[in-house]
Symmetry: C2
Subunit: 326 residues, 2 copies
Amino acid sequence: MRTIEWHEDKEAVKLIDQTLLPREYKLVECKRVDELIDAIKSLKVRGAPALGAAGAFGVVLACINANSKEAVESEVRELKIARPTAVNLSYGVDRVFNAALRGKTTAEMKLYALEEANRIAEEDIAVNKKIGEYGSELLKDGDVVLTHCNAGRLACVGWGTALGVIRTAIGKGKRIEVIACETRPLNQGSRLTTWELLHDNIPVTLITDSMSAAVMRAGRVNKVIVGADRVVKEGVLNKIGTYMHALVANAHNVPFYVAAPLSSFDMESSYKEIEIEERNPEELIYFGSEQIAPLDVNVYNPAFDFTPFELIEAVITENGVVHPVT
Amino acid sequence: MRTIEWHEDKEAVKLIDQTLLPREYKLVECKRVDELIDAIKSLKVRGAPALGAAGAFGVVLACINANSKEAVESEVRELKIARPTAVNLSYGVDRVFNAALRGKTTAEMKLYALEEANRIAEEDIAVNKKIGEYGSELLKDGDVVLTHCNAGRLACVGWGTALGVIRTAIGKGKRIEVIACETRPLNQGSRLTTWELLHDNIPVTLITDSMSAAVMRAGRVNKVIVGADRVVKEGVLNKIGTYMHALVANAHNVPFYVAAPLSSFDMESSYKEIEIEERNPEELIYFGSEQIAPLDVNVYNPAFDFTPFELIEAVITENGVVHPVT
């Protein structure tokens, strides 16, 4: 099963519910755009490339359920802004909506939309594999690679970006170990990265985010590879904590790499113009149903941070490895 | 109620159960050394100065329950190594046991032990207030101070070290805000620091540990103050994550201070000789009763890290502010 795919018989988007991992592997189906928006906002599906596919398949849902071009357009407008920071969501929506416009009826629009959405999904896997090819050249046999959040197959349609690089390197016979940072507050590292690496028998050690500096000081890390939610003209927006890891990697002369498809690039924009999503304070006050902080405490909970190119050794794309000139 | 104190009627050590905060404020009594060791290992009582008092009162319990000097010695030997990293625990045990040795019977030993243990507890508060006096001179009206873990009154007998500095500064009329890092994996920042600051009406904002770099880059932090579990000849051992905050503070020219009583100093030792306690992997695999990582994942879970003096602007002690020469 891919992370996200179209189910034609049911006319539904089928996706792995990532909020239940690693305890439960469950697929959910969204038959309406509002269901898909809920799935995106609640992080059942997350990761910039997977959000691109979600946006793409969401346009197909809109074509099925709406009865005019205008109604489709109105539904996808909501979808496009379900989460603000990753550029891929709006990229997927726009590209598929433009393809759908070739249809005269909503039935025709659906056919064009589905064709384009499936193309985006196939491209995503192909692009990930190319990123893997280029990136794997940067890894040496025996490397220990630290990663943050989940930039694996669960963040994409299939292979993965940062973890795709590791998969490809291992496929080429290199021995690679991974240190996964748990990635607070939603623990995508604990829940998703360790799960998918163990599934593939890739050796992985889980640490808290705050341990990365200590493990680097101990000389236990050779490289850092993370994904990106958006690459802008001065650097990279990615999961909160990425900037911290980049600073400590640089302090220990550990190369810091970003693996990202070109669909995550938005080189016209400055990071200052991009909205950093602030999520619910309850993510830090509760852990599941357990209260871990006073209910009335003030919380700051940005989902992303900005890492300048100065701290990034290279960005690994499907067209090659880019060394930022700063 | 102090964090830890002697209850003469019951011949028991009474302490606040810190594992239940902030949901529940509950006092527990330990009447035997093994109960106290359990309370220490399970972190019902934690924080270097509070562990010093725990070690001190533990010797009193040993004198009450043992029937010979040798039996007392054997009980306190276990107590001394209940947790290995903070020096205060063994300092408290040794000092009180030496005082107890003046007694000829265990009944006499108990009297001498209790006198010395109460002296340690009183001294701790007096020392904290002196640290507060010296440290408060370093804070300016309007400062936003980031802290990690809990070096507050819950980590001590009363006033606190890092948070004691903030309390004293506020008592002198300075407006100070605190940013509390949640402090994974056991969330002493979320659970304890926010709780005790809200209790005193000190403005506090809770963030994840990984956000400290982003908030410093945004210019939101003027100072960092943390406590110490042990000050050695090259630097400071403190809660895991301290070294990360020190690196990012230095990268943003934010002064990084350590507040620590001289009883935490062990200047004869190198950090290389000090055992860094590695705690149970389950602390990262479960959150309370909720599973958040695959059960078979490898985990690295050191409780402390080492921060070299190069990254420390000053250590605030009861005898004054020491600027390390490196």
